[in-house]
């Protein structure tokens, strides 16, 4: 039986971890390789690294960061942020990513997912979906780090992306991101109903109860950033609480 995963996320810009609320107001939170190694020691099941650089220089630097993190850790590394082409994905895989996340580019050109799956295998392809509640009681997909709301329904997009070749979905609640008031459990349930691929819940974790709730709502993994970077809790503490709550995690 697969164990539920706890995944720390490193948002990286110019070789440093940054963090903010609702994708804005970024501040420094440490060295990526150092933090990644610490998180592995604490029992992290995987590391997600998101390049939030807005420039070409930043992107080139991100490849160096991927290499440094890869050398430091012996657990899986998924990397996303600014991936537009198969070549971008190949560069990241060669630098040491085990999986590549695509977000805006896949919304613009859905066939990119088919292409990446054919080239690298679907287990390498993660579609990152940023979802925001809409007036109709559903969720719209937002792109460009939340700057643009699309007419796509997040549930429909998740189903299409999985059908095309995404082997995993990184589902972020844009509304809850960084706000630390819990994951959007309705969103997790709604997307879980539509896909059989693994689902990573993201956006809003403040403590172990939030992780437990996300996993019970149907997520295979739960991701968080701020609460780990701030050293307010550790991954082993979270896992201990989850085991106590009879959720199956890797001890």
């Amino acid at each position: 039986m697969l164990r539920s995963r706890i995944i720390p996320c490193l948002d990286v810009r110019n070789g440093r971890i940054v963090k903010g609320v609702r994708f804005a107001g970024l501040r420094d939170a440490g060295d990526p390789a150092e933090r990644a190694r610490l998180y592995e020691q604490q029992g992290a099941d995987e590391i997600v690294l998101l390049d939030v650089s807005a420039t070409d220089e930043g992107r080139a630097a991100a490849l160096d960061t991927v290499r440094a993190v890869r050398e430091a850790i012996a657990i899986p590394l998924a990397v996303g942020g600014g991936v537009r082409t198969a070549q971008d994905a190949r560069d990241l895989l060669e630098a040491g990513a085990d999986k590549v996340g695509v977000n805006t580019a896949a919304v613009r050109t859905p066939a990119l997912l088919d292409d990446l799956a054919a080239r690298f295998g679907r287990q390498c392809v993660v579609v990152a979906i940023d979802a925001s509640r809409d007036d109709a009681g559903g969720w719209s997909v937002v792109v460009r780090a939340g700057k643009e709301r699309t007419s796509l329904d997040a549930r429909d997009w998740a189903a299409e992306a999985a059908e095309r070749g995404a082997g995993e979905i990184l589902l972020t609640s844009f509304d809850n991101d960084g706000a630390q008031n819990g994951y959007d459990l309705d969103l997790i349930r709604a997307v879980r109903m539509r896909v059989r691929v693994p689902l990573i819940a993201s956006g809003g974790a403040s403590g172990h109860r939030d992780f437990a709730a996300a996993l019970r709502a149907g997520a295979d993994a739960a991701l968080a950033a701020s609460i780990f970077h701030d050293d307010r809790t550790t991954i082993d503490d979270i896992k201990r609480e989850l085991l106590r709550a009879e959720l199956e995690v890797r001890p």
Partner: protein
């Protein structure tokens, strides 16, 4: 009780077969951390004669076996496994050592191990992605039970004759590793399975089987 010498992979050169789009970086990083030197190759004579060969694999069965066959590496792999030269196959690399896969009907594998890979049932969570428990059966000496990282959509269901198996549960029981002396094939990724996985690679290089205590030792 004698304390065994620490596992040591320093000085070993490991030929890593370049199956195309496989992400070699994780495998090479794992070998480097153990003190070994990875050298990537598609040269049949290197694959046949190297002290250690590691066959990684990401991508499709058909595409990868075509790459290997075009390079003349298929026969070299089969030859070294037949003479029991140290060989470690990972994920798709494991499936490539079998005869076939439902992923690519009609494509013939390396055929060093009898049998083939099959698809998970349609209602199973796939890909089988994440950490799962691996339990070796009696006679399997490459590693002790532990949690391994998997990322696979196909798997081996039936244990091949003449090989020892390790087992994992996901939509039923499947063969998550097979071993025959110095050949080890893992459906999971030891290079991504933390300290437990690193120990598997180190044991394979150092030729240090796990000692399993017998139930009733004769005195």
């Amino acid at each position: 009780m004698n304390t065994p010498a620490p596992l040591n992979a320093a000085g070993a050169t490991v030929a890593v077969v370049r199956t195309g789009v496989a992400n070699l970086a994780s495998v090479c990083a794992a070998l480097t951390r153990l003190g070994a030197t990875p050298v990537s190759t598609l040269d049949p004579s290197v694959v046949r004669d190297a002290s250690y060969v590691l066959l990684p694999g990401v991508g499709s069965f058909g595409g990868a076996i075509e790459t290997l066959r075009d390079a003349g590496v298929v026969d070299a792999l089969r030859a070294r496994i037949e003479r029991d030269a140290p060989t470690l196959a990972i994920c798709l690399g494991m499936q490539l050592l079998f005869e076939s896969s439902e992923e690519s009907p009609g494509a013939l594998g390396v055929a060093a191990i009898p049998g083939g890979a099959t698809r998970y049932p349609v209602d199973a969570r796939t890909p089988h992605m994440g950490w799962n428990l691996v339990t070796p059966e009696r006679g399997f000496t490459a590693f002790s039970p532990g949690f391994a990282y998997f990322a696979n959509s196909y798997r081996i269901e039936d244990p091949p004759e003449g090989w020892a198996a390790a087992w994992t549960e996901h939509a039923g029981r499947f063969v998550s590793a097979v071993q025959r002396r110095r050949t080890l094939a893992c459906q999971f990724h030891p290079e991504l399975s933390g300290a437990w996985g690193a120990e598997i690679i180190a044991r394979w290089i150092a030729d240090r089987p796990v000692v399993v205590e017998e139930e009733a030792p004769a005195c």
